[in-house]
């Protein structure tokens, strides 16, 4: 006999019930041949062996009995399956049947049908239970994100032999339960797919005390084992990514166009009728039919505009996250008069009766809250009217589309009441671009029209919706309707960030507390640009409470820009570590909102964002690599040093890596107790982008300048006491007799002393755009930096790149950028002013010396690419 199917029955203690399982398995009828393999897993009952002996005599050609020392359910199944596969090489499938369950007589015919007609690798039954009798169906199509939440496949499933041939077996170490869930996950990991079988064939004996009940008692422990073992499914935002493959998260109506997407960067056209059809199906069978979670109604061009600002993902996230606190989330886009960017969220006020007061409110407080609530309600109505984008959940669409009522008029009135009573969350996005015309129908009208279409659709009236449900009860396992909370549950109780990345894409998030025109921000931008050149996606997370600069080139290297604007994110009252303040712990919901979107990243680099340290353990639990990027140890008024590098030391245990802006700072941190393996020095390079042609043109222009031309000496940036403002003025005064022009590009007020720029020093306004910056460097020959304290200033490398000669005091890590006399000059010791004046005197009179130093790049143009490589090696 060459059987096609082996039914493997592990037996432990079910000595009497096993007869039912064996009997039902032997009684199967069909065209396929099958064998029954009973595995006595060291059952202490003598009756088991007597029974198996008997069955071996009853059906010697179709029954095998194996005996082993007790090794657990998984081991017993494996033993039987191994035996079957080796004894019958032509076997096509295996069915593990637990000793207390049964098969229906037509199962074998059904197996034949499944193996011939279906492409899946395993086939799982409905939950047809006897004993504690119940009937539940097995949900819709097989979907991994649902499977991540709960096991939908009973071990009693037909499994193709290819699954075992690929090395997928039951884990023999999982003796406390959920070994079947683990098995299916391993199979899915190996690329196999399950399929639900609609027809009954398997009967599960449900008893109040069963092994499964026991494993449910240990649910938390076993789930953590499963999650740890299957990081490929549970880590980062894998579940959200898989959910996006099942169904796009957003259905978007923009004028007449209808699109569906998860990531607004990748939208697919759809049509209104198909979406109506989908909602109706979802209403009739919520457990099996997939419906888009969020419904977006937008004025034309708004999403495109936000995408150009790289804010569309962030805004959609804010809207979706807002739906946890309101029925409707509304967006209003405005142009910021200051040319900045900012995203603000206003949560709808609660009615006093819904507020959880710490102590019972007195009458006055109650009235204040009530007045606030009423004022807010009228504001919400206005927001709803004037919104550029509205987002509502699937549930809200169904409430509006299927209100109670006996006729259309009554349904319409009830829907209008629901809409009127809905709470509205307001998201205000200020951007540095003109907002699009408010053309097209208002989103509120679009929402009303769509839900009206739904109510009046002939199918809604024609169907008796409850008659279309399956006869079985909904499954107790996760189903299509649960996809929202599953993502929520596995994403720190907030909305997943709406990006979709193809497999193999590497993603790094850079988190900053502020995004203005500072050195740290420019470093982040330069590193992101270099990472992008090495095919790593970079995403910017601005977690603070301020506006972002409106300078577009700063955002250019990032795929998305996400801002979370909350004062508690910049609250530095969390106690001191070695004299440096730590961030106050944010409230849980805020921490979740901060950490949740970062799950979309493979690695997160936090620079200056201290609040994020409170989420380190959360991020690491999801295997997101986290690094802190330290830049500068500052010196306070009393000469004590402080700064975020101390926080890097404070949280070192929770960080995967600590990046430093210089080798010197890395040494400092090592000295503070950070293991050297954890330190990754990223010596700074130029802070704004110039391509090779622009660099060559700048160098050529400088080379063409006559040797007898007046020397142009200047400073770029904010010139304060730390930067040696007084020294700079003194040098300028001392060089009056020389053919030197002094200038400052940037702040007109020098330092805290209130010194003003004297008229003989030319003052240029601060430069932000790349072209202005290029021009600022082009009008200088020498960059003078008489600083008292520094990290590793970007300006030095920017100057070196275009042939400027940097002259700087040897403080901080400046010596890492300047090799004295080769690509600049270092002034060591004091007096600084006289040394610098003497050097300028030489340079003014010795053009050969200038030429020998100017244009010596010293590898600065490659610096960020090297840094990016180091980051990739360290974090990805």
């Amino acid at each position: 006999m060459t059987p096609d199917i082996a039914i493997v029955i592990p037996i432990y203690r079910h000595s009497a019930l096993a007869d039912e399982a064996i009997s039902s398995a032997l009684a199967l009828e069909g065209n396929l041949d099958h064998v029954v393999i009973a595995v006595d897993d060291g059952c202490p009952n003598v009756e088991t062996r007597a029974a198996l002996d008997g069955w071996a005599r009853h059906a010697p050609d179709r029954f095998h009995h194996l005996h082993q020392a007790n090794s657990g359910l998984s081991a017993a199944r494996n033993t039987g399956i191994r035996f079957a596969l080796s004894k019958y090489p032509a076997l096509r499938g295996v069915f593990p049947l637990d000793a207390d369950n049964r098969l229906d007589a037509h199962s074998l015919t059904l197996f034949e049908h499944l193996l011939h007609t279906e492409e899946a690798d395993w086939f799982y039954p409905n939950f047809d239970m006897f004993g504690l009798q119940s009937y539940a169906h097995n949900g819709g199509r097989f979907a991994l994100p649902l499977f991540a939440a709960s096991n939908q496949c009973e071990a009693g499933s037909l499994i193709r032999r290819e699954v075992f041939d690929a090395g997928v077996w039951f884990d023999e170490d999982m003796r406390a339960g959920y070994e079947d869930w683990d098995f299916w996950l391993s199979a899915a990991r190996a690329g196999f797919q399950g399929a639900p079988v609609r027809q009954n064939f398997f009967r599960y004996r449900k008893r109040p005390e069963s092994m499964l009940s026991g494993s449910h008692d240990q649910d938390t422990v076993l789930r953590s084992v499963i999650q740890k073992k299957h990081g490929w499914l549970y880590d980062k935002d894998s579940i959200a990514q898989l959910a996006a493959q099942q169904i796009p998260r957003f259905a978007c109506f923009e004028g007449d166009a209808v699109q569906v997407f998860t990531d607004p960067a990748d939208r697919t056209d759809s049509d209104r009728e198909a979406l109506i059809h989908q909602i109706i199906k979802g209403r009739a069978r919520p457990e099996t039919e997939w419906v888009h979670q969020n419904w977006v109604f937008t004025r034309p061009g708004v999403i495109d505009l936000l995408s150009r600002c790289k804010l569309s993902q962030s805004i959609l996230w804010h809207l979706q996250a807002g739906l946890m606190k309101a029925d409707i989330a509304a967006l209003r886009v405005v142009q910021d008069p200051g040319g900045q960017r900012k995203v603000d969220v206003t949560i709808p006020a609660e009615h006093p009766k819904n507020i959880a007061y710490d102590t019972p409110p007195n009458r006055r407080l109650w009235h204040v809250d009530n007045r606030t609530y009423k004022r807010d309600r009228s504001r919400q109505a206005e927001v709803l009217e004037q919104a550029d984008v509205l987002m509502v959940s699937r549930d809200m669409i169904q409430r509006l589309g299927f209100p109670d009522g006996t006729d259309l008029a009554m349904k319409g009135r009830r829907a209008a009441r629901i809409l009127k009573a809905a709470s509205v969350l307001h998201v205000r996005a200020a951007i540095n671009h003109p907002r699009p015309d408010r053309s097209g129908p208002p989103p509120r009208d679009m929402l009303e029209q769509f839900t009206r279409d739904l109510r009046e659709h002939p199918h809604v009236n024609g169907y008796v919706l409850h008659d279309l449900k399956p006869w079985r009860d909904p499954p107790r396992a996760a189903s299509a309707k649960d996809i929202g909370w599953i993502q929520h549950n596995h994403g720190f109780h907030t909305a997943p960030f709406p990006i979709v990345t193809p497999p193999g894409t590497r993603r790094i998030g850079i988190a900053l507390p502020i995004m203005q025109f500072g050195g740290v921000e420019k470093c982040a931008v330069a590193l992101a640009a270099a990472l992008k050149r090495q095919n790593v996606q970079c995403h910017l997370f601005v977690y603070g409470n301020s506006q972002m600069a409106g300078t577009d080139w700063l955002f250019e290297p990032f795929e998305t820009v996400h801002q979370l604007n909350h004062p508690l994110l910049r609250d530095w009252r969390g106690g001191q570590y070695l004299g440096t303040n730590t961030a106050a712990p944010p409230p849980t919901h805020l921490l979740n909102q901060m950490v949740g979107p970062l799950l979309s990243m493979d690695a997160v680099i936090s620079t200056g964002s201290a609040a994020i340290f409170h989420g380190l353990s959360a991020l690491r639990s999801k295997r997101v690599a986290v690094a802190s990027w330290e830049h500068l140890v500052e010196t306070g008024g009393y000469g004590r040093v402080y700064g975020t590098p101390y926080l890097g030391v404070a949280y070192e245990g929770g960080l995967d890596r600590i990046l430093t802006c210089s080798k010197r700072l890395a040494s400092w941190m090592h000295a503070q107790g950070v293991p050297s393996e954890k330190l990754v020095p990223l010596p700074n390079g130029p802070g704004f982008p110039l391509d090779a042609d622009q660099v060559a043109a700048a160098l050529a222009a400088r080379a063409d300048r006559p040797d007898d031309a007046r020397l142009r000496v200047g400073f770029l940036g904010r010139l304060d006491n730390q930067k040696g403002a007084d020294r700079y003025l003194a040098i300028a005064r001392a060089c009056r007799d020389l053919p030197i022009d002094f200038s400052i590009t940037g702040s007109a007020v020098i330092g805290e002393s209130g010194l003003s720029v004297p008229p003989e020093i030319t003052h240029y306004p601060a430069a932000f755009e790349v072209e202005d910056l290029r021009e600022a460097f082009a009008r200088l020959d020498i960059l003078l930096m008489p600083s008292r304290d520094e990290g590793l200033p970007l300006t030095i490398m920017e100057a070196q790149r275009v042939g400027l000669i940097p002259i700087a005091t040897d403080v901080g890590a400046v010596s890492e950028a300047i090799e004295d006399g080769v690509n600049g000059f270092l002034i060591k010791g004091s007096p600084v002013v006289s040394q610098m004046v003497a050097l300028l005197r030489r340079l003014a009179t010795e053009p050969g010396l200038r030429r020998s130093v100017s244009g010596e790049l010293g590898g600065v143009d490659q610096r960020w690419d090297q840094n990016a490589t180091a980051v990739i090696d360290a974090l990805l």
């Binding site: 071996a56 194996l66 082993q68 609609r198 027809q199 009954n200 006996t406 024609g462």
Partner: protein, 476 residues
């Protein structure tokens, strides 16, 4: 197939140095090393396959070899195999004696087990017999005393679309197989020719349900709902099922109406493997499993050929009176439910209102009707509100004053008809022996064991009385 004629062998394992002494012909003796070699090695454990081992006969040398193999020790312990120590350098008789002892032990254990199994079987048989008796009694009581005898599970209305009944038409059933008894399908237009509609209840994959095949005749010109009744309500466990239909006749097959379109292909009807976009217009009825179907009203049934039919409106009859139940216990589960049951005549609507109870049927007795050779009475029924659950209606007629209690009235009722909220229909009672003189109409409604009866406006509108001039009249 039982193959006791060639039972698998029984094995004895003996130390390597004594295995050759085996003399017992019915027991295959293996040396310890040979036996160990036959075991399946799965790395961390050994597995014994398809072998019945009596036990082990070990010399001291054999013991030493066994103890040196912990996986083998674990297997023997798990199998609870007896180990017989035999002296060093034994003779064949020693081994034979040990073998016989092991056989006797095994035989004793087997007989003991068999006795326990027999005792268990006897207990099961006793329980089974008692259960059968109890079941039969319960069944009779349910069948006779409780109404209705069937329940309509699904009702998909007919639309203007249809499919011809050519080839095999397969309609997936949206309800489990257990207890299914009858179906209504809708003939779209007048049937073009005479023939039969064959039908069976089948599994999507697997053999059809046993005894669930039948056919019903169709006359040329028939249209509307046709009832397909199975020989008995389907027994067994709840299963997924399909209704298969085909045409048995020489002429053109009729077309069957479709229900509204469905978004779910798993509910849509298929013809010769091609799935349509809608299910059949269909009613599905359920009853007690294994029971033959109770007579159901057939709309196509002709009136008595020579009878005279007249109509009687409720306004022409006397005031309805609710018949009491002599014993009216209330189930504990429903004690707190504010049950409502009432019988009224509504003058404005000209109807008899019989509001059902959740406990047992409510029967109204309506006097004031004088008949001559009454053979059949039918009534128009309606559920007046949408916000309720299905209600069963029945109608009966008895000589005036002969029935004064509800339990007596049940036996005189016709077949129960079930309506969904808002629906119209009719009930009927055909009399075996015609009645003459003053009679009382019995109007019954029921929704027993349904824990909700608000808004259950069960209305009887008007009655059609048909006389029969052929048979002898019964004197009232």
């Amino acid at each position: 197939m039982n193959t006791l004629s060639s039972p698998p062998p029984v094995y004895l394992v003996a130390s390597d140095d004594v295995a050759h002494l085996a003399t017992h012909s019915d027991v295959v003796t293996l040396s310890l090393s040979e036996w160990t070699g036959r075991l399946i090695d799965l790395g961390d454990r050994l597995v014994l396959s398809d072998m019945t081992v009596l036990g082990l006969c070990l010399t001291q040398t054999g013991r030493g070899a066994l103890d040196a193999n912990p996986r083998l020790v674990a297997l023997i312990k798990a199998l609870d195999l007896p180990i017989v120590d035999i002296l060093q350098d034994p003779n064949p008789e020693t081994l034979l004696s040990a073998t016989v002892n092991l056989l006797i032990q095994r035989d004793n254990a087997g007989r003991t087990q068999m006795a326990e199994d027999r005792a268990a079987l006897a207990e099961l048989r006793k329980l089974h017999m008692q259960m059968q008796t109890d079941h039969a009694e319960l069944e009779r009581w349910v069948w006779d005393a409780l109404a209705p005898k069937f329940k309509r599970l699904r009702a998909w209305p007919a639309t203007a679309r249809s499919i011809p009944l050519s080839g095999l038409v397969v309609q997936p059933l949206p309800v489990p197989s257990r207890g299914l008894m009858a179906y209504d399908v809708h003939i779209h237009e007048a049937a073009p020719s005479e023939g039969r509609i064959g039908f069976r209840m089948a599994r999507p994959v697997g053999d059809p349900f046993e005894g669930a095949t039948n056919s019903v005749s169709v006359q040329a010109g028939d249209s509307g709902w046709v009832r397909l009744v199975l020989p008995q309500a389907t027994p067994g466990q709840p299963e997924d099922a399909e209704l298969h239909l085909w045409w048995e006749g020489e002429g053109t097959a009729p077309a069957l109406s479709l229900a509204p379109e469905t978004p779910f292909p798993d509910l849509a009807v298929a013809q010769d493997g091609v799935t349509a976009s809608a299910p059949l217009a269909l009613h599905v009825f359920k009853s007690l499993p294994r029971q033959p179907a109770p007579p159901l009203y057939d709309h196509r049934r002709g009136l008595p050929a020579d009878g005279i039919t007249r109509f009687a409106a409720p306004s022409e009859l006397g005031k309805p009176v609710r018949l009491p139940w002599s014993n009216n216990p209330v189930r504990r589960a429903f004690r707190k439910y504010p049950d409502f049951a009432r019988v009224e005549y509504w003058e404005k609507e000209n109807v008899v209102f019989v509001h059902p109870s959740i406990h047992r049927p409510v029967v109204a007795c309506v006097p004031g009707l004088k008949v001559e050779r009454l053979a059949e009475v039918t009534g128009i029924i309606q559920i007046g509100k949408l916000s309720t659950l299905p209600i069963a209606f029945a109608l009966g007629v008895v000589p005036h004053g002969s029935v004064t209690a509800a339990e007596d009235a049940i036996a005189h009722l016709g077949d129960w008809m079930q309506l969904l909220p808002g629906e119209w229909g009719d009930v009927w009672k055909r009399l075996e022996t015609p009645l003459s003189g003053d009679v009382d109409l019995l109007l019954a409604t029921g929704m027993p064991n349904v824990p909700f009866n608000r808004d259950a406006d069960a209305l009887f509108h008007g009655f059609r009385l048909t006389t029969d001039s052929t048979g002898p009249a019964e004197q009232t």
